[in-house]
């Protein structure tokens, strides 16, 4: 318990930050430490690609749902699922761009396209136990896991009208890859598994280059030195990972190959495995 402090025209609460400027770097560094609280360290986040999986329709979606149902039988494998938006997101952006909508307006619009895939997935998975999770209802997660219900999270981050002006161009920088990464990091999750339509991350687009080489297991530091320009994941994700404290492992697998997701969830090295050795990359 502490008394209130006056004397300078303002009423303060005593704390280490009382009267301090939160722009002052010295003050800010006093709030930091090497670790973050890890809230759900045994949970994996599974991100299912929009363009790579959902846009392929039934042929790609149903076998993957089938595998998810099998995975759910093993209660020890805790997961949260997120989905990408795919072609409809690109179309939304193309029209919004032509109309000259501000970046915050585009960011506000795109989430709806991802949500459609979340509804599709949930409709297929619900008979086996799944539920769309409200935006940030993370504190329900223990209940979901206990009940054997797989939560489907909203993947687009809630930047909406407040999407910051991008470093270059005029398109939002924070899409679903970043959103799901951030969700896993803030909750201190075990790993993020990106389910795509390639066997992992390549040094160039394997759909266009026959000689593209796949990365096996690589550290973030090593990958940063040779970051592919054509990347299956959003660059903002890698940029944010540099300063993030919690997440240590990102796996990129092929959702068209049955069994890869199951193995990745069990912690096996499949596809491309990117790890971050120390807290500061």
């Amino acid at each position: 318990m502490s008394d209130l402090v006056g004397g300078d025209g303002r009423t303060h609460i005593p704390s280490r930050l009382m009267r301090e400027s939160l722009q002052n770097k010295k003050v800010l560094s006093g709030t930091d430490s090497d670790r973050d609280l890890q809230i759900f360290p045994d949970v994996s986040l599974v991100s299912i690609g929009g363009q790579s999986i959902f846009d392929r329709g039934k042929a790609a979606i149903l076998p993957l749902v089938d595998e998810l149902v099998q995975i759910k039988a093993d209660k020890a494998l805790k997961m949260v699922i997120g989905v990408g938006g795919g072609t409809r997101v690109r179309h939304t952006i193309a029209i919004a761009e032509d109309l000259g909508l501000p970046v915050g307006g585009m960011a506000q619009l795109v989430g709806a396209m991802e949500e459609l895939n979340a509804i599709l997935l949930n409709t297929l998975l619900a008979p086996h136990g799944s539920m769309p999770m409200q935006r940030d209802h993370f504190w329900d997660l223990p209940l979901y896991f206990d009940a054997g219900i797989t939560p489907i999270a909203i993947s687009v981050p809630p930047f909406h009208f407040w999407e910051p002006p991008p470093e270059e161009g005029h398109l939002p920088m924070h899409g679903s890859d970043f959103g799901l990464f951030q969700l896993a990091d803030v909750l201190g999750m075990k790993q993020v598994i990106f389910v795509k339509d390639e066997d992992g991350l390549y040094d160039k687009d394997p759909k266009r280059h026959k000689d593209a080489k796949k990365f096996g297991k690589i550290t973030l530091a090593e990958l940063t030195k040779q970051m592919p320009a054509e990347n299956i994941l959003d660059p903002e994700l890698f940029h944010t990972w540099q300063t993030a404290k919690n997440l240590k492992r990102i796996v990129i697998i092929n959702g068209l190959e049955r069994g890869q997701l199951t193995r990745a969830l069990r912690g096996e090295d499949v596809g491309t495995v990117i790890t971050k050795e120390d807290a500061r990359g």
Binding site: S15, S21, P102, P158, H160, F161, W162, E168
Partner: protein, 263 residues
């Protein structure tokens, strides 16, 4: 820091590539987006706040469209301090940081209700045309809705996007040229005027000049100074002294009072 991929090669939002003939549309360019400081104004209570609200109501009667955003203040510093001790991730700290500006916005609404004060949520921008046409003064929290999705900044646990960022980003979305920050100082000085009486006032400075000074402390959140040069619409931040009678009204009328930080 990661190397940034050149934009022509970068995949943004599932491979959408930016077009070169983008012609931005301003959503509501006549709106004045105004922040009422937390520590600098609201924590001072009635003595500081009431004269400011009088000037805002006067501006509204002149037909000036105002949207008010509230800052946090000492209660935010208190919860940030305890959450930091507990080693909470920045996203959790940012979520905790939403509640105090929300309280402050609600206080402002109660005081302004008789003059059309209306509490609005972040997603209510779409209703602003109606509210403003009816002569209302919409009031909202200045905290951006990033919450758990707030990125960590190296060497800090405090969310880098706080209520200054929310004010700037609101002005930028609405297409407003200038974001107005009501604080308890007339803007920038060559030194801390509270400690050094010889410090002189800086009426105008660019974001680049401000960054180049490499000050250990700045009057607005660093991300705002970083974003300003790349904004499409909000090219100026105006910092005014709410304790000085007439300055808020002058700013709302578009006069160059206080300090203007430009892109």
């Amino acid at each position: 820091m990661a190397e940034r991929t050149p934009v022509a090669e970068r995949k943004t939002l599932d491979a959408a590539l930016p077009r070169s003939d983008y012609k931005p549309t301003a959503v509501m360019p006549d709106v004045k987006v105004v922040k009422i400081g937390g520590q600098s104004i609201l924590d001072r209570g009635r003595a500081a706040l009431f004269p400011i609200l009088d000037e805002i109501v006067e501006a509204r009667k002149l037909g000036i469209q105002v949207v008010l955003l509230a800052g946090g203040g000492t209660r935010a510093r208190h919860i940030y301090s305890i959450a930091s001790e507990l080693e909470m991730p920045t996203g959790v700290v940012a979520t905790l940081g939403k509640y105090i500006p929300m309280q402050n916005a609600r206080m402002l609404q109660m005081l302004l209700a008789k003059h059309g004060g209306l509490y609005i949520l972040p997603d209510d921008f779409e209703k602003l045309p109606l509210y403003l046409q009816m002569g209302c003064i919409p009031v909202m929290s200045g905290m951006p809705p990033f919450g758990y999705w707030e990125k960590r900044e190296e060497g800090s646990r405090i969310p880098p996007h706080r209520t200054d960022a929310g004010v700037f980003l609101s002005a930028e979305f609405l297409g407003s040229r200038r974001a107005i920050f009501i604080k308890d100082e007339e803007g920038l000085f060559t030194d801390d005027p509270k400690k050094n009486p010889a410090a002189t006032h800086i009426p105008r400075i660019t974001a680049k000049e401000l960054t180049e000074r490499g000050l250990p402390d700045v009057i607005v959140e660093r991300v705002v100074v970083e974003y300003l040069p790349r904004a499409q619409w909000c090219k100026e931040l105006q910092i005014v002294n709410g304790l000085k009678p007439g300055q808020v009204l002058a700013a709302l009328k578009g006069e160059d009072v206080g300090t203007i930080i430009s892109a």
